[in-house]
């Protein structure tokens, strides 16, 4: 085996022993390791099933997309197969949300689980070409996947006539180059076609008009890794795991001021409090939790720690990213980081998002410096609200969301800065 670039030694823990069964050990698992552990048995079973039946099973399993939006995977597949072949399958491995590092663990340590999931999914939707789009900052993952695909080809799991079933599949791996927006499915497709990663206007959705104008299913790494379990266990047994509405294992990348940051595999009826205190070992120096950021998307206060980690309207949702802030951290300053993130990652296609995210970061910077005027505050409030309804894609739609939530949940923090700017304007 060749040597790979240095990889981070991310701590992992699992109570379910499914997705992280092998990945909890920090090393690359080869095809032999995977086969020894019962790997590719689900594929054999799936190839003896009717593709329609697999889609039905995935639909009944109530598996939801793990990439953030939580769209039911079975529904997406059903939409795709309504449209004529050729169809494509794309694995979205462009994980760039701040605080998210769950897919990386799966790709780097257990690539064959993903490959098996992709083969079954491609068989179900009738795709003969599949792509993995991995972010440019994960070079190790890229090399590992390329090698794993070669291994799988040698064993006859990929290529022509897979295991004598008559089904052909090639998986191609493409690298991104540092654009967060390419995690948005239509931008990813544009990038995979060799263009700028500009999101497309929807509809038509990728399941109708995707890669090269053909119906395309885009699924997250973690979603595809769930597929072999649904086939192996059957959808009924799969649904026993976790709450009945949101079954299956979920990975939670926990970071920030906790004693044991890492990736945790838990059922979705776990509460945020359990994740922070029971699994991640509580906060550093036992400080009180002030806020939990869900990536750059949502914000939860101390009072909301009993939120369940599921996709319900009041659940934690998103990619499951947990960033813990304690009482010594400044929420407003962290909002500046979020605003800077969106300003940096806005693709620049539509004006509201390009100008709006830039102005949002700019005004927030002035607010923190204490040089903001009354007009700046009004402008900040306006910009923050108006990006959402006027942008093309989801990035603009959420660019002001976390900031608005902190204003509602931590008014006293913002009041501090308002006082600071009034004082400095008086002294002038």
């Amino acid at each position: 085996m060749r040597s790979y670039p240095v990889m981070p030694n991310i701590y992992t823990e699992t109570t379910l022993d499914m997705l992280l069964r092998r990945a909890k050990k920090p090393r690359v698992h080869t095809v032999e390791d995977y086969l020894r552990d019962g790997g590719y048995q689900a594929l054999e079973k799936a190839l003896n099933m009717d593709p329609q039946e697999i889609i039905e099973w995935v639909d009944k399993s109530q598996l939801r997309g793990r990439g953030g939006a939580g769209f039911p995977t079975g529904k997406k597949w059903k939409f795709a197969v309504q449209n004529p072949a050729p169809r494509y399958l794309i694995c979205n491995a462009d994980e760039s949300e701040p605080g998210t590092f769950k897919d990386r663990v799966l790709i780097e340590r257990d690539p064959h689980l993903l490959i098996e999931g992709m083969i079954i999914s491609a068989y179900a939707i009738g795709a003969n070409e599949a792509f993995v789009y991995i972010r440019g900052e994960y070079p190790a993952g890229y090399y590992i996947l390329r090698d794993a695909i070669e291994e799988a080809k040698k064993k006859g799991f990929l290529g022509r006539n897979i295991l004598g079933s008559g089904f052909d599949l090639e998986i191609y791996v493409a690298r991104g180059a540092g654009a967060y927006i390419c995690g948005e499915e239509s931008a990813l497709i544009e990038s995979l076609e060799g263009k700028r990663g500009f999101p497309r206007t929807k509809p038509p959705f990728p399941v109708q008009y995707g890669l090269f104008g053909k119906p395309t299913v885009v699924n997250n790494v973690e979603t595809l890794c769930n597929i072999p379990f649904i086939i192996k266990l059957g959808w009924e047994d799969y649904r026993y795991m976790g709450p009945s509405d949101y079954p299956g294992p979920k990975l939670f990348p926990v970071s920030g001021k906790v004693k044991k940051p890492g990736v945790y595999e838990l059922p979705m009826n776990t509460t945020l409090r359990e994740v922070v205190y029971k699994y991640a070992g509580g906060t550093i120096n036992n400080k009180k939790v002030k806020a939990v950021f869900s990536g750059a998307l949502d914000c939860f206060s101390w009072e909301e720690l009993d939120t369940p980690m599921d996709y319900s309207p009041f659940g934690f949702g998103g990619t499951g990213t947990v960033i813990v802030l304690t009482e010594e951290d400044d929420v407003v300053k962290m909002c500046l980081k979020v605003a800077e993130f969106y300003a940096h990652e806005s693709c620049g296609q539509c004006t509201p998002c390009r100008v709006g995210t830039y102005e949002q970061a700019n005004l927030l910077h002035r607010i923190i410096q204490g040089t903001a005027t009354e007009g700046d505050w009004e402008g900040f409030d306006f910009v923050n609200r108006f990006i959402q309804p006027t942008s093309i894609c989801g990035l603009g739609a959420v660019a002001g969301r976390l900031i608005r939530q902190t204003m509602k949940k931590f008014p006293e923090e913002w009041e501090k800065y308002r006082k600071l700017s009034t004082e400095s304007s008086l002294s002038v």
């Binding site: 670039p5 240095v6 990889m7 981070p8 030694n9 991310i10 701590y11 994980e95 760039s96 949300e97 701040p98 605080g99 998210t100 590092f101 990386r104 070409e129 972010r135 440019g136 900052e137 994960y138 070079p139 190790a140 191609y172 493409a174 690298r175 991104g176 180059a177 540092g178 654009a179 967060y180 990038s191 995979l192 076609e193 060799g194 263009k195 700028r196 990663g197 090269f212 990348p253 926990v254 970071s255 920030g256 001021k257 940051p261 890492g262 990736v263 950021f293 750059a296 960033i323 802030l325 951290d329 300053k333 962290m334 980081k337 979020v338 993130f341 940096h344 990652e345 693709c347």
Partner: protein, 165 residues
């Protein structure tokens, strides 16, 4: 075919690099899909993306030059500025900010005397600020070329950087 022959006569790229670019172009179902991979390859070879290489990539993939320039300018990882042998990418996102990334930036500044976007005088290192690198449990976090590291101390950092000649 004719295009291929003309191309081979006029190329300004190194033999080894050219064959790797061709490999990428042949790998994907459609040639133009290899554009990002080719640009990565070019940047790894030259330490940045020179203008003549863009023209070569455009010719190789059968794309107009302005399309390739358009793509290069969009993606953050591609650098058309001053070349550098190694790139240090430091995460400046939320979690690394929480976990005191300033210590790491200060240590790099002290060791190499460069700020974000600058290159050391000998052209060995370039310091780049990036949004989340996806290893937040290991914050503060940085990458040197393709290798990923957690920042522990200035001494450890010095030891890591000395591995990159």
């Amino acid at each position: 075919m004719l295009r291929e022959i003309i191309y081979n006569f006029n190329t300004m790229l190194e033999e080894g690099l050219l064959s790797r670019l061709k490999e990428h172009a042949d790998y994907f179902p459609k040639k133009e899909q290899a554009i990002l991979m080719c640009l990565h390859e070019v940047q790894n070879y030259y330490g940045h993306i020179p203008q003549f290489a863009l023209e070569e990539v455009a010719k190789l993939l059968g794309l107009p030059l302005n399309h390739v320039e358009n793509v290069v300018s969009f993606y953050d990882m591609f650098d058309r500025g001053q070349p550098a042998k190694h790139r240090i990418r430091v995460c400046v996102s939320i979690v690394c900010e929480l976990m005191n990334k300033d210590k790491l930036i200060k240590a790099i500044k002290e060791l190499l005397g460069i700020d974000f976007g600058q290159t050391t005088k000998d052209g060995r290192f370039k310091l780049i600020a990036v949004q989340c690198l996806g290893a937040c449990s290991e914050a503060p976090f940085f990458m040197v070329d393709e290798d990923a590291y957690k920042f522990e101390s200035k001494e450890k950092l010095h030891e890591i950087l000395s591995r990159y000649a």
